[in-house]
């Protein structure tokens, strides 16, 4: 059944089963012949393929030796997939390969490109071998093309899936890292924000901050946005709302490290400066927070002594 699903389906699905079985037999026979041919000319075809890869400037992130080593294993997996007509091993190999080459910056078009090149190289060798017998060539290609396309598909999908998995993992990691709410003194929290704030992150920040105020019984919060170069109007509004919501919980918010661009944005949206308590840098913010809480920092002794 599996064989028929891969190779025999086409326009002639509704054919008499016995005829179809005979056809499947014939297809398998042809594939066997094909595989034998590819095994025989392994060295030459592989060379040709590697040559084509470097000519088209694919996989520039990898050295020649690496390309050759990978090409050998891809070639063997490719022939094996043609022979067994099962794609699990190839799929596993594609995933493994993707894991290794994605961190090196290999792009999707390169991976798809090399698999398509291999398909072309092999097809050319078939043309060369069967050029005298056009009918045979046609039948060989009938057997070869669906399997080859399926292989290209499997490798490309495997690569993209691996890539998406990596991206998802990284996004998750960024989300977890992005919003620490830290207690620096009794009843004083700081919330350092670094990087771009999108609406989703802004919402998460607010949630964590308001919850942090409750659990730590904070009276003063310093939000440091030195690491935020700019923010759009929506996020700026959100920041102002967070400051007001914190006040409703009885906490004073001090915002520090506003960049000129953010200051411009806040002025443009017409923020009420009476509600917004801002200090130039984080140090100044913490000092003001300590004053509000009644702390005073004094040196234990004169450091010059």
């Amino acid at each position: 059944m599996a064989k028929r699903a891969i190779i025999g389906n086409g326009p002639h699905v509704a054919i008499d089963p016995t005829v179809q079985m005979a056809q499947n037999e014939a297809t398998s026979e042809l594939l066997r012949e094909l595989v034998a041919h590819l095994r025989q000319n392994r060295t030459q075809l592989r060379e040709e393929w590697v040559q084509r890869i470097s000519e088209t400037r694919l996989l520039t992130a990898m050295t020649k030796e690496e390309i050759f080593a990978e090409a050998t294993s891809v070639y063997d997996s490719y022939v094996e997939a043609l022979e067994t007509e099962t794609f699990e091993a190839l799929q596993a190999y594609a995933q493994n390969l993707s894991e290794r080459i994605i961190p090196r910056g290999v792009e999707t078009h390169e991976v798809v490109g090399i698999v398509l090149l291999l398909r072309d190289v092999l097809a050319r060798s078939l043309f060369a071998k069967y050029q005298a017998d056009f009918r045979k060539l046609n039948r060989i290609l009938d057997a070869y093309e669906p399997a080859a396309n399926r292989i290209a598909n499997t490798v490309a999908v495997g690569f993209v899936q691996e890539r998406e998995r990596t991206i998802r993992q990284q996004q998750e990691a960024i989300r977890e890292l992005s919003t620490p709410v830290l207690q620096v003194r009794e009843r004083l929290l700081i919330l350092p924000i670094i990087g771009v704030i999108d609406p989703q992150r802004a919402r998460q920040l607010t949630e964590q901050l308001l919850r942090g105020i409750r659990t730590n019984r904070a009276k003063v919060v310093v939000i440091d946005i030195t690491g935020v170069a700019a923010m759009d109007v929506t996020v700026a509004n959100h920041l102002v709302q967070t400051v007001e919501a914190s006040r409703l919980l009885g906490a004073t918010v001090i915002v520090t490290g506003l960049s000129p661009e953010i200051a411009q944005t806040l002025v443009t949206i017409g923020v009420d400066l009476g509600k917004m308590n801002t200090v130039g840098d984080l140090q100044g913010g913490i000092e003001q927070a300590e004053r509000l809480l009644g702390y005073k920092v004094v040196p234990l002794s004169d450091p010059r002594q």
Binding site: T206, E207, L210, K219, Q241, A245, S246, L248, L249, G250
Partner: protein, 120 residues
């Protein structure tokens, strides 16, 4: 549902225990504004810890209570606003301007005690 108002020294404490109808809120306003002068209180604490929704009417009434009590010579603190409620209020533009807020009852009492320490 009536809101109990407790007298605690120089302060009044009103604890809202369930969702209030508009009429209940108006009763609370009338009661507090009368009692603050009758008991010669210096401050009033309204505890909203158990309110998990705050509509615009409730928010406006709380603000009115605070302003009326100020005109009657005392100070009001709203305590115990839940984080989710706080953000929802701000998004609706209900920010209780010029009204003191605190995390919970303890903080509210601490705020009033500091404020009126000089009178002791």
């Amino acid at each position: 549902m009536e809101v109990p108002v407790l007298k605690q020294g120089k302060f009044l404490i009103a604890t809202i225990q369930a969702a209030l109808s508009d009429a209940d809120l108006e009763n609370l306003r009338r009661g507090l504004v009368q009692q603050v002068v009758r008991f010669r209180s210096l401050g009033v604490i309204v505890d909203v810890t158990s309110m998990d929704v705050m509509d615009s009417f409730a928010s406006r009434t709380l603000r009115e209570i605070a302003h009326m009590i100020r005109l009657r010579g005392a100070e009001t603190v709203i305590v115990g606003i839940q984080p989710e409620v706080a953000f929802a209020m701000v998004q609706l533009g209900l920010t209780l301007e010029d009204v003191a807020t605190a995390l919970d009852l303890e903080e509210g009492l601490a705020y009033l005690n500091t404020k009126f320490k000089s009178l002791d």
